[in-house]
Amino acid sequence: MDDIRLLPATGLEGLIAQLRSRGYRVMGPTLRDDAIVTGEIRSASDLPQGVGDEQDPARYRLRKRDDGAYFGFAAPAQSSKPVFFPAEEVIWRGRRDTAVTPDSAASASTPDNAGNPTTAPASSPHDPGFTVERDQLDAPPIALLGVRSCDLRAVQIHDKVLAGRTYIDAHYVTRREATFVVAVACSDPAATCFCASMGTGPRPAATDPATGEPSYDLLLTEIAPSDPDRHHFVLEIGTEAGRDVAHAIDTAPAEFDDQHEALAVTAHAASQQTRRITAATVRDDLRASAESSRWEDVASRCLSCTNCTLVCPTCFCTTVEDVSDLTGATAERHRVWDSCFSEDFTYIHGGPTRESVKARYRQWITHKLSSWEDQFGMLGCVGCGRCIAWCPAGIDITEEAAALGRMRAGGVLPTGDHVPTGDHVTVTS
């Protein structure tokens, strides 16, 4: 049991302090504006202890738990996506060289080696050149604390998308390089969660399925939060760096039963999930559904608000904005999150190639659940359910995928069998 230790609930403080003393900026779940979002963790008191959540289509609410659980909630309102891939980033800053006018060029004449004056070519006044510099990221390395399985898998997906192909996102790669990960096994899935069906949770896989690299340095499973005398974490060690940290903090040896107890937490969490996507067939179902009548139906509900893409931990589309000062002497190029739901997204002269909302919704769900597999060898959805909870229309990706699957299978499906809000339909296809 060398790779498993027990950490008392009070030992979180020591873990956080240990990570901070090693120079990490610790980022984890914090409370802000009645939601759980990723923020800096300076001490255990920054964690939303005793807070739970309720998530349903178009609904996200926090509730007070009657125990002292530190991680007794499901997918936070925002994932750890912005930690490595912020919503806005300066790609480079440019400055115009000092203007060269014909006058100043002439007066800058200097003798050449033979003593003859040389004059810069008397060009017409023109824009001078410019120099471009990249911002340097002078930030401490990140330790993710309490990242749950779906969001950890989403980071691994971004590792492939943004850092694992021919061309890479330089800022992402830099931020991600020295990350330390303290993952948490999920105990309290929301009604919107379906990671179990996607194979992405609730217990984090030990290794990244794409690279074989360890998924986490340390993994916490929270045990008995309702019993102050027993409340503790099972601490699993995933890497040598994790072992080093674990040895530096106050832990106790674990028994075989402790591991069992940890596994039971996630087994129970998985059994509570009612939503699901049939991961084995969804790629083909969506590929075959390009001309489905379902798109009209979902387009009549979708507001094209882009919420689903903003909260999704795997969505990576961006655009660029050029910001220059009034004199035009300096300019910055910003990379900002974009959404395939915005009408401008596909704009080329003549108009957008995906003008209708039905084409935009089709693009989004087909990318997540089908073409992502062709592009990256994995699906682009980790089952976190955020797009369901944060959709103002209560559109449910699991329900849309199931409907498309049923229609493909030839079943008669009247459009409009959806339940826009409130109780969800349990799909058992």
Partner: protein, 291 residues
Amino acid sequence: MMAGVGTIADAVARTGRADPMIPRRFAITRVRQDTRDTFTLLLDPVDGGEEMTFRAGQFTMLHAFGVGEVPISIAGDPRHPAPLEHTIRNVGAVTRALVNAAPGTEIGVRGPFGTSWDAADARGHDVVFVTGGIGLAPLRPAILDVLAERDSYGKVLLLYGSRTPDDILYGAQMRRWADLDGVNVQMTVDNAPHGYKGRVGFVTELIGRAGFDPRRAFAFVCGPEGMMRAAASALVSRGVSPARVRLSMERSMKCGIGLCGHCQLRELFVCVDGPVLDYARLEPLMDVREL
């Protein structure tokens, strides 16, 4: 205390992968007006470094300082890549800034990106170029590739359509290709003023009667998407294999390197999987509206 994350350049270097988001500075050495709204820019690097070598069909991202960036296919000769040559239609803020820039103005260039026409695959075969308007510019490097080894190819046809006689691009050059290089150039215009002597009609109508052997032909098609679909389907109905019909797709592109997501066409990132793609691959995608 652990040091902060390293510099971006170091982190990128450790991946062994490329991060071509920083433009290289080029100066506009000449601007040539081709038609009412179309201009050709000749560019030389100002850093004194190597010329930008490219393969026919590739594009660059051209950046007008403080205004923005656009993807533009390279129009020059792959064997003589300097000066770097782009033919641009003045249709938006960035292209306006580019075509109105005085000689000497510096712009940013990233690239070259994307796939090639790979015209050499057609050695020993007939070659049919089908294009319209400014679509001739991205095809020009492939035409020059073929003409550089003219004897290695069978018949070479250039079917060119333009909206009006005034919109014909590279007219003098097309005449030289016809007169000196053994290219069967056929031109047509969609609309002509009264008394116009040339052919009037759509370029796709030329395909049915053009003299080439469909069973041993390669076709390279560039133009608006509707025109490319019609041309590809006409070529295929004449018996050209869809795998030998290549199209250059146009999509919104913000990065040119497969990261921004804008150019996706189902599983394709048009910027890295394309822009040149064969019709066997594209046909099912082009058949779905707004895919």
